[in-house]
C-alpha cells in the first residue's frame, strides 16, 4: 500500500513542481520575495528547565500587550496559522492577503520579510496559505490552496518555495505537524468529503499515505506527541470534538478521545505532564495518555490555533471572553486552571518564543471603512492589521 502511493505521489509531485513556477509568478501580486531574509543563525536551544525531565518553568506574572509590528503590503484581511521556530527565533504566519508567509524576528519583534508564491484567498481548489511549521533542517512547510503543500527552503536568501506537493484533494491543504522520529509531515485535507490527513516524507517529499476520517466534519490542529510517538489531530464531528491518535508507521487511527459533546474541535497543544489543551468551543484540559478530561476552562473561548509556551509553562488561546470581547487567554499548563484574559481586539491565532516569552498574535485589519479598534491602533497602526506582541510584566 505504502509503496504504491509513493510511486504515484512522486510522479504527481514532479508534475506539479514543474507547473508551479509559472503559477507562482502569476499569483503573487507583491514582489517582496526579492527582500533578502538572511538565514537564521544556528542558535542553541534554551536549556531544559531541569535535570528532571518534563518539569515546566513557570512564569506567573501577568501578561500584557507590549508592542505591535506593522506588516507592509495589502492589509491583513485574511490570515491563518502562526508558528514560532524556537531554533531560529523567528515567527511565521500565513498571510493570504499578500499570497505569502510573513517572517518576523521573534527575538527583536521586527518584520523581516516574506515568502510569496502562495495561492492566496481564493484558489480554484481552496485558498492559502493556511498551516505553517518549520522542520529542524530549516524547511518551512506550508498548507496552501489548491490542495498543495509548499516547502520553503529557509536556508536560501531569499527563502524560496522549492517543492509543491499535490495532496490530490478538491480543496485546500490546511494545518500540519511534524514527526521528527520518522521525518513525516501530516497535513489535514479538512474540506474533503470525508476529510483526510496526508502523510508526507520530509526527506523525499513523497506522499506516504492518507488516513480517512469518515465521521469528521473537518480536520483541525494536529500535533506530534513525542512520548506516545503518535500524531494527535483535533477532529470535529457531529457528536462534538474528538482527538484522534494517528500512528505514522501504520498510518491508522489507534485511539480516539471524545472531548465535548456540543462543540466543534479546533486547536490542540501539548503541555507538561501530558496535559493537552483541546479547543472545542472552550478549552478542555485532557490527559494525553488516556483521554481523561481534567478541566474545562469557561472564562474564555478556545479560538482556532492554540499554543503551549515551554518558556513560561502557559497555554495561550485567542478567543472571546464572556462579554464577547476578543482576548488572549492564559491557562496554566500544569494545573489547567485559567489565569488571565488580556484584551486583544482583532487577534487571531497565537504562538510564542520560549526563549524570551514573547507571545505573538496576528491582528486582522478591520473591514474597509470601519473604525480601527484593534490592538494595532493602540500603537498607531490603523487599517492594516499587525502582529501584536505580548509579554510578562
Amino acid at each position: 500500500m505504502r509503496g504504491r502511493l509513493v510511486i504515484a505521489s512522486t510522479v504527481t509531485a514532479g508534475l506539479v513542481f514543474g507547473g508551479h513556477q509559472a503559477r507562482v509568478r502569476s499569483a503573487a501580486p507583491i514582489a517582496d520575495q526579492s527582500i533578502a531574509v538572511p538565514p537564521a543563525a544556528p542558535i542553541r536551544p534554551p536549556r531544559p528547565e531541569s535535570f528532571i525531565p518534563g518539569i515546566p518553568t513557570v512564569v506567573s506574572t501577568p501578561v500584557v500587550l507590549r508592542k505591535a509590528i506593522a506588516i507592509p503590503g495589502a492589509p491583513l484581511a485574511s490570515t491563518d496559522l502562526v508558528w514560532v521556530d524556537e531554533a531560529g527565533k523567528r515567527m511565521y504566519f500565513a498571510d493570504r492577503s499578500n499570497f505569502a508567509v510573513d517572517i518576523i524576528d521573534a527575538e527583536n519583534d521586527a518584520y523581516l520579510g516574506r515568502v510569496t508564491g502562495f495561492v492566496g484567498p481564493t484558489g480554484t481548489r481552496g485558498g492559502g496559505p493556511n498551516g505553517v511549521a518549520v522542520t529542524p533542517d530549516n524547511k518551512l512547510w506550508v498548507g496552501d490552496g489548491n490542495s498543495l503543500v509548499q516547502v520553503v527552503d529557509l536556508n536560501l536568501n531569499p527563502p524560496q518555495i522549492i517543492r509543491s506537493i499535490d495532496t490530490r484533494g478538491t480543496n485546500r491543504a490546511d494545518e500540519l505537524a511534524y514527526d521528527p522520529t520518522d521525518r513525516i509531515i501530516i497535513i489535514g485535507n479538512d474540506r474533503e468529503s470525508p476529510p483526510y490527513v496526508t502523510l508526507i516524507s520530509a526527506d523525499s517529499y513523497a506522499i506516504l499515505g492518507t488516513v480517512l476520517f469518515p465521521e469528521g466534519t473537518g480536520l483541525e490542529q494536529p500535533i506530534w506527541n513525542p512520548r506516545l510517538q503518535v500524531f494527535m489531530v483535533n477532529v470535529p464531528t457531529a457528536r462534538g470534538g474528538e482527538v484522534a491518535l494517528v500512528d505514522p508507521k501504520t498510518m491508522k487511527v489507534t485511539s480516539t478521545y471524545p472531548v465535548g459533546s456540543a462543540c466543534g474541535g479546533t486547536g490542540l497543544a501539548l503541555g507538561p505532564f501530558q496535559r493537552l489543551l483541546v479547543a472545542c468551543g472552550t478549552p478542555f484540559i485532557v490527559n494525553a495518555a488516556n483521554g481523561a478530561i481534567i478541566n474545562n476552562v469557561t472564562q474564555v473561548g478556545s479560538g482556532d490555533e492554540v499554543w503551549y509556551n515551554s518558556g513560561d509553562g502557559q497555554f495561550y488561546v485567542t478567543s472571546a471572553d464572556s462579554t464577547g470581547a476578543t482576548v488572549l487567554g492564559v491557562i496554566d499548563g500544569q494545573t489547567g486552571a485559567w489565569r488571565q484574559n488580556v484584551p486583544a481586539p482583532g487577534a487571531r491565532n497565537v504562538a510564542a518564543l520560549a526563549a524570551n516569552n514573547h507571545i505573538f498574535t496576528v491582528v486582522r485589519a478591520p473591514a474597509a471603512g470601519a473604525a480601527d479598534t484593534t490592538a494595532c491602533a493602540q500603537f498607531g497602526i490603523r487599517g492594516t492589521g499587525c502582529v501584536a506582541v505580548f509579554g510578562h510584566q
Binding site: S50, I52, P53, I55, N287, N290, T335
Partner: protein
C-alpha cells in the same frame, strides 16, 4: 530496598569477628537510611509545585585506612508525586556514585567528608508514559557517625549534589539520617 538493607546488615553481623570495633572506629562500614532531597531547579523555576522529595533512601558501603582516607560507594533514590489535578505525575531520581572519603575516628564519633562521582538518573511519569534523563553527577558532602551500641551507629549526613545537564548545573541538596554498622 529497606528490607534488603536489613538483610545486608544481618549478614554483616554474622561474619564480623568478635574483635570488631564500634561504628565510629571501624575500618569498614555499611549504612542505609532515609534521604530528604530538594531540587533547586524546581524551587527556582516552578513556584507552583513543591521542590521537596520527601520520600527517599540511601545505601552506602565505605572503607577507611588508618590514615583516615578511604573510599565510599553509594546508591540512592528520591521520590515525589506532583500534586496537580488529574492523574498526578510521579518523579524519581536515582544516583549511582562513588568516590574518596576522609573519616576521622574520635571518641564515639567519626566526622567525615567525601566527594562522590557518578550518574544521576531521573524519570517523570504520568500513568504509563515516562521520560528519563541520565547525566553525570558529583556530590560533595559530609557528616558524622555516632556510636549507639556495639557496632551500630547513627549517621547524619548532608550533601549537595550537582548534576551536569545540557551544559548547566542542576543542584540537589540532600539530608540523610541512616543507620551505620561498622566492622
Amino acid at each position: 530496598m529497606r528490607c534488603g538493607f536489613l538483610v545486608l546488615v544481618a549478614l554483616a553481623m554474622s561474619v564480623v569477628p568478635a574483635s570488631a570495633q564500634s561504628a565510629s572506629s571501624s575500618q569498614y562500614d555499611v549504612a542505609g537510611g532515609y534521604a530528604f532531597m530538594r531540587d533547586q531547579d524546581i524551587a527556582n523555576n516552578n513556584p507552583d509545585i513543591s521542590a521537596n522529595f520527601p520520600a527517599g533512601w540511601m545505601a552506602a558501603v565505605g572503607g577507611t585506612l588508618s590514615s583516615g582516607f578511604g573510599a565510599v560507594g553509594e546508591v540512592s533514590g528520591s521520590y515525589k508525586t506532583v500534586s496537580i489535578p488529574g492523574d498526578q505525575p510521579k518523579l524519581r531520581v536515582y544516583t549511582f556514585l562513588a568516590g574518596p572519603r576522609f573519616r576521622k575516628s574520635l571518641s564515639r564519633i567519626a566526622p567525615f567528608g567525601q566527594v562522590l562521582f557518578g550518574v544521576a538518573r531521573a524519570t517523570t511519569s504520568v500513568l504509563t508514559v515516562s521520560e528519563t534523563a541520565s547525566d553525570f553527577a558529583y556530590q560533595p558532602g559530609g557528616g558524622v557517625d555516632l556510636d549507639i551500641s556495639g557496632r551500630l551507629g547513627l549517621r547524619i549526613e548532608g550533601d549537595y549534589r550537582i548534576v551536569r545537564s545540557d551544559g548547566a548545573n542542576s543542584k540537589e541538596p540532600r539530608f540523610i539520617v541512616a543507620a551505620v554498622f561498622g566492622f
